[in-house]
């Protein structure tokens, strides 16, 4: 009997060890990599990692961009492969990931979407990665540029202040008479959140008054509660502003439940598949869409160039970078801004292209969907 039980534990322990060994097989050259399940990145070589701030469909487009760049710039031939690591939305999670990277040997570069720009521990962990020989850039959300600029080589992403301004202009175009608005966001401390919200106020102009700014710490149920609470506390609220991608769903869901769509306008950042559906149904008035695909694509190219010390490519992507001096000649030259799009419903939108910045694309929903299809994407 004793032998039987020992056998049982042994069997299970053996299976565990087999599973662990199995984890490793896929990283061995010529191992079982080719037969991997498709959710696991196969292949060999050093990793070029994108560390997200949390989990959201927004990152799918960035992953697609990374994978396209992996092929186009032939990262495999350079002994590199792209990987996306999804953080749990907390600064500690990001610090733990970065500390883990610094202690590994097969990581060549990391692009971080910084969870909390003011958090010194994240910046310190990024510096530790740099000291371990890992190239570090920020993507989508930067560190605090006043104090922690040296923690990364460059920032690649949206000009979030401009994005906020464009969303504010869209709000002003939809409600020329002004109104009372509430902003909804995941982490109020994230740099992109702070910049977008301040940009929105600038773009919307003095006719708009902010009633609430609510953070949900990336908890979807809290995001829903925030919208309900804002409407309960402010019955005259007429402009709901989604700052992060999933906030759009929370806003639309609550507005539909409450039946207040006729007296409420909704403008949001990003175009998740659900948000596109909401706009198709007439429940979103405008979307300012970043280009995570381009962020992933160009971010991968920049990381490859940094790993290979390809000064010409770095200079090509960041013209203010002087390859001879190995430094930026312009203080803001370490920012590589990816484009913005304003997407409006196919019918009945009062928005006009002229009010937006010349660099911002102005697209109807149909045209935007065509662009998504051309890149095999369902959202951006």
């Amino acid at each position: 009997m004793r032998r039987t039980r020992v056998g049982m534990i042994g069997t299970v322990a053996g299976l565990f060890v087999s599973a662990l060994l199995g984890c490793d097989i896929r990283d061995k050259p010529g191992g079982a990599a080719s037969s991997q399940a498709d959710n696991v990145a196969a292949g060999t070589g050093k990793r070029v990692i994108l560390l997200t701030n949390g989990a959201d469909p927004f990152w799918n487009a960035m992953r697609a961009g990374m994978q396209a760049a992996e092929k186009d710039f032939d990262l495999n031939a350079a002994g590199l492969r792209t990987v996306m690591d999804v953080n749990d939305g907390t600064p500690k999670g990001q610090v733990d990931h970065l500390r883990q990277y610094a202690n590994q040997t097969d990581i060549a570069a990391v692009a971080v979407s910084v969870t909390d720009s003011a958090n010194g521990a994240i910046a310190k962990a990024m510096r530790d990665c740099q000291r371990s020989g890992i190239k570090v850039i920020t993507i989508d959300s930067d560190v605090d540029r006043k104090t922690n600029r040296d923690a990364r080589f460059a920032y690649l992403g949206t000009d979030n202040v401009l994005g906020g301004q464009e969303l504010g202009k869209a709000a002003a175009g939809i409600r020329p008479q002004g109104g009372k608005y509430a902003t909804f966001v995941g982490l109020k401390g994230a740099a992109n959140a702070i910049e977008r919200i301040s940009g929105f106020a600038q773009g919307a102009g003095p006719k708009f008054v902010q009633a609430e700014n609510l953070g949900d710490d990336m908890d979807l149920s809290v995001a829903l509660k925030n919208v309900k609470d804002a409407l309960d506390r402010n019955p005259d609220l007429d402009m709901l502003v989604g700052i992060w991608a999933y906030n759009a769903h929370a806003i639309v869901d609550v507005v539909k439940q409450r039946g207040v769509r006729d007296k409420t306008n909704i403008v949001v950042f990003d175009a998740s598949p659900k948000a596109i559906g909401h706009m198709t149904e007439g429940n979103i008035d405008a979307m300012v869409v970043q280009n995570p695909y381009d962020m992933g694509y160009w971010g991968t190219r920049l990381m490859k160039a940094l790993v290979q010390n390809d000064q010409a490519t770095i200079h090509d992507m960041l013209p203010a970078y002087d390859p001879r001096m190995h430094a930026f000649t312009d203080r803001e030259g370490d920012l590589l801004v990816t484009g913005l799009r304003v997407v409006y419903p196919d019918a009945g939108s009062p928005l006009k292209k002229e009010v937006f910045a010349p660099t911002t694309e102005f697209l109807s929903l149909s045209d935007f969907k065509k662009w998504l299809s051309s890149h095999n994407l369902t959202g951006s």
């Binding site: 534990i9 984890c23 990793r47 999804v86 109020k188």
Partner: protein, 422 residues
């Protein structure tokens, strides 16, 4: 017959081995996991020092409040509140520092250079908070009569919420940023408390030593074991169980408060919405893996230390060997190991108690199917379809044979005494 000195030492070794079989098993398991990781990942070979330091730092952070959780479990209770106590204590610590920090021209506290006096007051205030929380738990359990599960569950939910409100009010009162949800402490000396590997480790070792002395070398410790083993008997024999519970829950909450200080120092931020979320289960898991019985009265400080180290080594091993989405696998592996550890404990107890069937009747047969499917599914995800199917079959046949053997043994046991009846 007089035994030889050699015989004495052999007897002592075998007695120690029997007494510490759980710890020895954990040590062996740690060695195996480290050996496997070293074989298949370059990281341990090329950066041994950094990895050892990081594992020890993470072990210490988890270990500090696992010690408190273990003492509560040994005393026959359970503390579900440690994660929220970490969040609340971290908030209190950061709030005290914010309140004592000098203010800039705009009216914002400057937390970059706080000084040792501020640290001392903040740490003392945080430990006092832990003591008060533990006292409240003891009162709810011993006077109000709430089960420990309910009393600490209330704290699990309530303290985090209280911390969120508290942080917003503190920010509203002390800064010009308004009701923001986190407090930043940018003092580098404070940050080093959690980020420099040997500081949390030193604190953990000192607390472990104190806990060991308490549990193994004092009357109070023996009474805690006695109360955990049989509370009614302990009370009838004159042990003041209410006082002991007060001590146990205060130690649980105060160690969580120390962890709260360290975690806040590590990230330089008190963010009660997410800080320490779910950590109470990690602490309980570490204690259980370390040999503590949830029924009370069983467990060692050394076992808990090794349990924490084992969990952290395994988590680090997963991070080193699973190159993509290691976090996704972490929960599966940790959950699996907790079950495995408890199964080992059951095995040891069953050995003493004369045997136990793990797969009895139709329930057992169904569970064999479930375990085989689970193994096959995991192997399919990790390795591939063919390996998944093979492991499914191996599990089904292997566990089926074990179940069959168990039934035969059980039938023999049942028939044995009957046949000897007059």
């Amino acid at each position: 017959m007089k035994s030889s000195p050699g015989g004495d030492s052999t007897g002592l070794i075998s007695r120690l081995a029997r007494q510490h079989s759980n710890e020895l098993g954990l040590l062996a398991a740690i060695v195996v996991v480290v050996a496997i990781t070293t074989t298949f990942s370059d990281a341990y070979r090329e950066k041994p020092l950094q990895n050892v330091q990081e594992i020890l730092r993470q072990t210490a952070l988890l270990g500090v409040f696992s010690l408190g959780a273990a003492i509560v479990i040994i005393s026959g209770g359970i503390d579900l509140s440690s994660g929220s106590v970490i969040a609340f204590s971290g908030s209190v610590c950061a709030a005290i520092m914010l309140a004592l920090a000098p203010v800039d021209d705009a009216g914002n506290p400057m937390t970059r250079n706080l000084g040792s006096g501020v640290f001392a007051i903040a740490i003392a205030g945080t430990l006092l908070t832990g003591f008060l929380i533990g006292t409240l738990h003891a009162w709810l359990i011993t006077v109000v009569g709430l089960p420990p599960f309910v009393a600490t569950l209330a704290s699990l939910v309530g303290l985090r919420s209280l911390a969120r409100v508290f942080v917003q009010e503190v920010n509203s009162s002390l800064t010009v940023t308004g009701k923001t949800t986190q407090i930043y402490v940018n003092d580098e000396t404070f940050n080093r408390l959690g980020a420099t590997w040997w500081i949390p480790l030193g604190i953990f070792l000192v607390l472990s030593l104190l806990s060991w002395v308490l549990m193994s070398r004092t009357v109070v410790g023996r009474h805690l074991y006695a109360m955990g083993g049989n509370e009614a008997a302990a009370r009838l024999s004159g042990i003041r169980t209410d006082q002991l519970k007060w001590l146990a829950y205060c130690l649980g909450a105060m160690t969580a408060s120390i962890a709260g200080i360290l975690y806040t120092a590590e990230v330089g931020t008190a963010n009660p919405q997410v800080q320490g979320r779910g950590y109470e289960l990690n602490a309980i898991a570490a204690a259980v893996v370390g040999g503590c019985s949830l029924q009370g009265g069983v467990g060692l400080v050394s076992g808990t230390m090794l349990g924490v180290l084992f969990l952290r080594v395994v988590i680090d091993s997963v991070a080193k060997m699973v190159k993509v989405g290691a976090d996704d696998y972490e929960g599966i592996i940790v959950g699996f190991l907790v079950v495995l550890a408890v199964a080992f404990n059951e095995l040891r107890q069953a050995r003493r108690g004369g045997g136990k069937q793990f797969f009895p009747g139709r329930l057992g047969a169904t569970v064999i199917g479930i375990l085989s499917l689970l193994t096959g599914a995991l192997a399919t995800i990790i390795v591939g379809k063919n390996a998944g199917f093979a492991l499914f079959l191996i599990s089904l046949v292997g566990l089926g044979l074990i179940g069959f053997a168990e039934r035969r043994a059980a039938a023999r046991r049942t028939a044995g005494p009957d046949s000897q009846l007059p």
